[in-house]
Structures are given as structure tokens and as C-alpha cells.
């Protein structure tokens, strides 16, 4: 064998691996993006084209009529105001729930990471168990408790439920991040006379941006996409978009309008998509980030 063939031979393997990698990435991207494309395509078709029955056909006369209907005049049960009122409900439920459950989880997680005793491990265990209990199992007691204190089917009630159900999750994530931060940083802050809360606020939170973003995104998607809790706890005045979406899709009066349904589904999904696109970089960074270097 000549030197040249040897060189080509060794270069071949990495190149093959690269090609394999790209094929895999493209295939999985197509796999995930195809349904989305189908939904977008069909939401742009007028009803006549839908009736022809070919889901895979490209729209001949693409227009936003279905979107407009879904947005402002589709019927959700008795009233026909589209999905619009749900948007505001979803926003006002999601934002405080995300902010509070994330910050409280950070504070809890920091406290737990600081607290080194057998009891701390016990509490971690309980929190982990809390994560694994499906929340359907806790619905009835929660309903009972909330009705006793008069918060069942109220705005405060749904926010409260989201925060409580989110806390084990956020606490665990933050705790695992904070045990990686050297103890001496908190001790140094204590030497400087900083209280626990002051240390958390001035020293620990500023080095937690990545994990804050990750947890906030996870919470945002979870709460925004939630259906069950919203249905049960929000009350008729505060129904989130997801609940209204099912009402539109499952509306038994009149004919089925798949294009409107798809448009409504897309409108509901837009905020989470936007959040992912805007913060994807932080998200990956946060997932990959280990402890902070002092």
C-alpha cells in the first residue's frame, strides 16, 4: 500500500461517521417536522379543499380564513368567540405560576443543598416520591382542600395548584445544580455578614442564569400545555387555551372543520414554539452546564 492510500483510508472512517450523523439528523428532523408541516398546510386550506380529502395535497388557494375563524369566531361550547379569550387566560395563569414556582424552587433547592443532615436526605427522598406520584391520584384531595378554603375554580386556585405541583420538580432540579457549587462561596458570604436570603439573592441567583432558564422553560411548557388542571381548577372564567381548544375540536354542533381545528391548535402552540426558538441556546447551555467555576 502506498502512503496516499493509507491516508485516504484513515480519512474515510470519520467522513463516513459524519455522513451517517447528518443522515440521522435529517431523518429525525423530517420525522418531527412533517406532522407540523401537514398541520400548517391544512390550516391554510379553505373548506372545499379539505373536503376533497387529500391531507397531503398542497393548498391551492392558501388563506388565513381558518385562522381568523379559530381566533375570533369558532364555537367553544355555547359561545362563539374563538380561542382568543383563552390566550389571555393562559398568559395570566402561566406567567405567575412559572415565575413563582421557579424562584421558590431555586430558594428551596439552595436551602436543601446547604442543609447537610440525615433529615435533608429524607426530604429529598420525599420530594422524589412526590415527583413520581401521578397527579391524577392527588386530584380529589386537592379539590377538597381548595373548596374548603374557597379557592376551587378560581384564578388564585389554579395558579396555586400549578405552583404546588411544580415545586418538587423545580426544587429537585435546582438542588442538584446547587450541590455542585462549592460550599465555601456561601461560607465566604456568611463571613462577610450576608444573611441566607441576601446570599441567595446577591451571590447565588446571579450564577444560576442557565439553570433558571432551563427550569423556567420546562415549567412554561408544562403549564402552558396543561389541560387537566386547567379544566378542573380554573373555573369557567379562566379556562386556558388548551381547554378551549378541545372545546372547539370536540364541539358536536355543526359540521367538523378540520382546518379551523388545526389553526386553533397552532395558535395554542405558538407561544411554546416561540419560547423554544428564543431560548434554545440557553436551554442547551443550561442542560450541559455543570458547576460554576469560582
Amino acid at each position: 500500500m502506498t502512503a496516499a492510500t493509507v491516508r485516504r483510508g484513515t480519512a474515510f472512517a470519520p467522513r463516513a461517521a459524519r455522513i451517517g450523523l447528518y443522515v440521522f439528523l435529517v431523518v429525525s428532523a423530517v420525522f418531527f417536522i412533517l406532522p407540523l408541516l401537514l398541520v400548517i398546510m391544512n390550516s391554510l386550506k379553505p373548506m372545499e379543499e379539505i373536503r376533497q380529502g387529500n391531507l397531503l395535497a398542497l393548498p391551492v388557494n392558501p388563506n388565513l380564513e381558518a385562522w381568523a375563524t379559530a381566533w375570533a369566531s369558532a364555537c367553544t361550547g355555547l359561545d362563539c368567540a374563538g380561542i382568543r379569550p383563552g390566550l389571555w387566560n393562559s398568559i395570566k395563569i402561566t406567567i405567575p405560576s412559572v415565575v413563582i414556582s421557579t424562584l421558590a424552587g431555586a430558594l428551596n433547592g439552595y436551602a436543601l443543598a446547604q442543609w447537610k443532615s440525615r433529615h435533608a436526605n429524607m426530604i429529598m427522598l420525599l420530594i422524589t416520591v412526590g415527583l413520581f406520584i401521578p397527579y391524577q391520584a392527588m386530584l380529589y384531595p386537592t379539590v377538597k382542600i381548595l373548596s374548603t378554603v374557597g379557592m376551587f375554580r378560581t384564578y388564585a386556585g389554579i395558579v396555586f395548584v400549578h405552583i404546588i405541583y411544580g415545586l418538587p420538580y423545580t426544587t429537585l432540579l435546582f438542588r442538584n445544580f446547587y450541590v455542585g457549587i462549592p460550599d465555601e462561596i456561601s461560607r465566604a458570604a456568611r463571613m462577610e455578614g450576608a444573611s441566607f436570603l441576601r446570599t441567595f439573592w446577591s451571590i447565588i441567583l446571579p450564577i444560576s442564569t442557565n439553570i433558571l432558564v432551563v427550569v423556567a422553560i420546562l415549567q412554561f411548557t408544562g403549564i402552558w400545555n396543561d389541560y387537566l388542571l386547567g379544566l378542573i381548577f380554573a373555573g369557567n372564567d379562566n379556562l386556558p387555551m388548551t381547554v378551549q381548544l378541545t372545546n372547539i375540536v370536540g364541539n358536536s354542533r355543526g359540521v367538523a372543520n378540520p382546518n379551523v381545528n388545526m389553526a386553533a391548535a397552532l395558535i395554542t402552540a405558538i407561544p411554546t414554539l416561540v419560547v423554544y426558538f428564543l431560548s434554545g441556546r440557553y436551554f442547551v447551555r443550561g442542560i450541559a452546564a455543570g458547576a460554576v467555576k469560582g
Binding site: 458570604a189 462577610e192 469560582g294
Partner: protein, 356 residues
């Protein structure tokens, strides 16, 4: 009045006792080094003094005031941590001013103090950087700066130089010593590096398994170690030890060879029973074989150290290190005699391991 008194400090983690009744009196303005092997409880002791860990028993008195129950901030101490523990998200300037900010010090004073300490430690150019953008040595300066900036009269250091390379460590050692002379504050400095201990300390406390074995001037630690542990831990190469016992004639007998110990100053009466004789490598003289008051020895090998040399001899069933001149080492014979300088030797009880 002493600056810090530790009275019978005890500390356990669970069933494990880390500090056994530590007693120390530290004078005002003194530079005290706590020296000991890894895991002997040095950091624990420092944390207890600082108030970061609570002691289980005992009393800590700082400048006449019992501070045992006080938070770290109430004790008026400053501390430099082993890993520096700078606040990562803050600039160097804020790292320095954070404590004063919390204490509500007026802005003008804060600016003035930060400027003073930055000048003292030559970190003016770094003030607007974050700790992540500093080298190890620079971080270490900032950490020292953070401890000095509030002019506490007592500074605690937990192995502050252990992450630096040898050259920087030697430089910083000198600077710290000078700083101590300039500021006149009491400093307690933890290390497991005996060169740091010997060169910097006014007094060294040698710790072993949670006890202070000896607390004395570095030179007397070297010359008159109070226990077998101190003797073996301090000094390089380690002290040569001979196990034996005191016979009725008051001689020291090892491997059936009696060794004349006239000239050794016992702490108390001439003892009897099992004992250990310790000799530093420079307190042994190489003589012609058969010279009176010498023991026969065989040269194993020599090490040239530049300025001088070490000879390793097999003698009385042990291997001895002896400091030699370079020329003497080059022309050393195989068969020699070793004579021990008893005036500079150390003897220990084999049971209590204390100096005799």
C-alpha cells in the same frame, strides 16, 4: 491580653470526634501557623474559630469577649478560603466592597478602603474584572484583599497558597509575611506545608488527630519536638528513629548495642523502660570505623542536593540519613562509623510518645 483564647474546644461530626479539647492562647499581632497532615482537623478548627461551624464544647474568647455563641459576622474576623471562594458573578471591586455594603458603610469610606487594599496588593488593574477572568495568583490576591479590606484585627487563612505553583507560592509567602508586619494584625494560618510554617510563623501549632501536639516557636519545634509525631512530621528528610529501652546503667540499648547518651538533657529524671531515640540528619557525624562512642555503619547510597548532600547508611538494622558536604559525599568509604550528637538528639517514651 491575648487576642484569641481557645478553651477546651471539642467538635464531633456524628460519632467521629474531630477536635479533642484544643487549648490555645494567641497573642495580639502574632502570626500563628497551624500545621498538620491532611485530615487532622485544621480547617475544622479554623471554621470553629470563625463561627462557620459550632463547637460542641468549649469556649472561644476574642479580645476578652466570649464569642462562642456569635455568628461569624459578630466576631470581627476575616477569612481567606482554601479555594478562594470569590463571588463569581461580581466584579473584583464588588467582591471587595460586598461586606462593607452589607454593614452599611458609607460610600466614600468604601471607595477609599477598596482603593487602599487594591494598592496594597497591586490589584488596581483588575478591579473591573470578574473572578473567572483572573489567574490563580490574581484570584488569591483578591481573596486576601477581601479579607483585609475591612481592617479586621484578626485574619484567618486556610491554606491560601496551596493552589499556587512553587515559585508564586514562595513569592506570596514573603509578601504575606511583610503584610503581617505592615498591618500588625493577628493572623492564624493553616497549612500542611512545613516550609510555610517554619518561615512565616511566630509560633507553630502542630496538630495531629484533632489535638495540638506542640505550640511553640518554629525553631524549638524543630530542635526540641515535644512528641514522636512532631519529630517525625517536621523536618525533611524525616528524623532518624531508633527504638530501644533504657537499661539499669542509664544507657540506651537498641538491638543489644548500648548507646551512650551522656550529654542528653532529659526533661525530668532519667527514665527507664521502652524509649525511642531520634536524631536529625545534621546531628550525626561520620567518623572512622571503630572510633570510640561511634556505631559501625555501611554506606548504602548518597544523594547530591546541590548545596550539600545526604548519605544513607545502614546501621543498627535501620537506614539513617546523614547530611554531608558534597566533597565528603563523593569520597565516602563503604564502611564507616556514625557518632550521634546527644546534645541535639531527642528522646521519647515509647508508650506515651512524649519527649523524655
Amino acid at each position: 491580653m491575648s487576642s484569641i483564647s481557645l478553651r477546651k474546644i471539642k467538635k464531633s461530626f456524628g460519632a467521629l470526634t474531630i477536635l479533642h479539647a484544643v487549648d490555645m492562647e494567641i497573642d495580639k499581632g502574632e502570626f500563628v501557623v497551624i500545621l498538620g497532615p491532611s485530615g487532622c482537623g485544621k480547617s475544622t478548627l479554623l471554621n470553629v474559630i470563625a463561627g462557620l461551624d459550632e463547637c460542641d464544647e468549649g469556649q472561644i474568647v476574642i479580645e476578652g469577649k466570649d464569642v462562642s455563641g456569635l455568628e461569624p459576622s459578630g466576631r470581627g474576623l476575616a477569612m481567606v478560603f482554601q479555594s478562594y471562594a470569590l463571588f463569581p458573578a461580581m466584579t473584583v471591586r464588588r467582591n471587595l466592597s460586598f461586606g462593607m455594603e452589607i454593614a452599611g458603610t458609607p460610600k466614600a469610606t468604601v471607595t477609599e478602603k477598596v482603593a487602599w487594599v487594591a494598592k496594597l496588593l497591586q490589584i488596581e488593574a483588575l478591579l473591573d474584572r470578574k473572578p473567572g477572568q483572573l489567574s490563580g495568583g490574581q484570584r488569591q490576591r483578591v481573596a486576601i484583599g477581601r479579607a483585609l479590606v475591612r481592617s479586621s484585627s484578626i485574619c484567618l487563612f486556610d491554606e491560601p497558597l496551596s493552589n499556587l505553583d512553587a515559585k508564586l507560592r514562595a513569592e506570596t509567602r514573603v509578601e504575606l509575611k511583610q503584610l503581617h508586619e505592615t498591618l500588625g494584625s493577628t493572623m492564624i494560618y493553616v497549612t500542611h506545608d512545613q516550609i510555610e510554617a517554619m518561615t512565616m510563623a511566630d509560633r507553630v501549632a502542630v496538630m495531629h488527630k484533632g489535638k495540638v501536639e506542640q505550640f511553640a516557636h518554629p525553631q524549638s519545634i524543630y530542635e526540641k519536638p515535644a512528641s514522636l509525631f512532631v519529630a517525625g512530621f517536621v523536618g525533611s528528610p524525616a528524623m532518624n528513629f531508633l527504638e530501644g529501652r533504657m537499661d539499669d546503667a542509664g544507657r540506651f540499648v537498641t538491638a543489644d548495642v548500648p548507646i551512650d547518651i551522656d550529654g542528653y538533657a532529659f526533661e525530668g529524671a532519667r527514665p527507664s523502660g521502652e524509649a525511642v531515640l531520634g536524631l536529625r540528619c545534621e546531628d550525626i557525624v561520620v567518623v572512622e570505623p571503630g572510633t570510640p562512642r561511634s556505631v559501625p555503619a555501611k554506606l548504602a547510597f548518597t544523594e547530591l542536593l546541590g548545596a550539600d548532600a545526604l548519605g544513607w547508611f545502614d546501621c543498627l538494622g535501620k537506614r539513617f540519613s546523614v547530611r554531608l558536604g558534597v566533597e565528603a559525599a563523593r569520597s565516602m568509604h563503604k564502611e564507616v562509623g556514625l557518632r550521634f550528637d546527644m546534645a541535639k538528639a531527642s528522646m521519647f517514651c515509647a508508650v506515651s510518645e512524649r519527649r523524655l
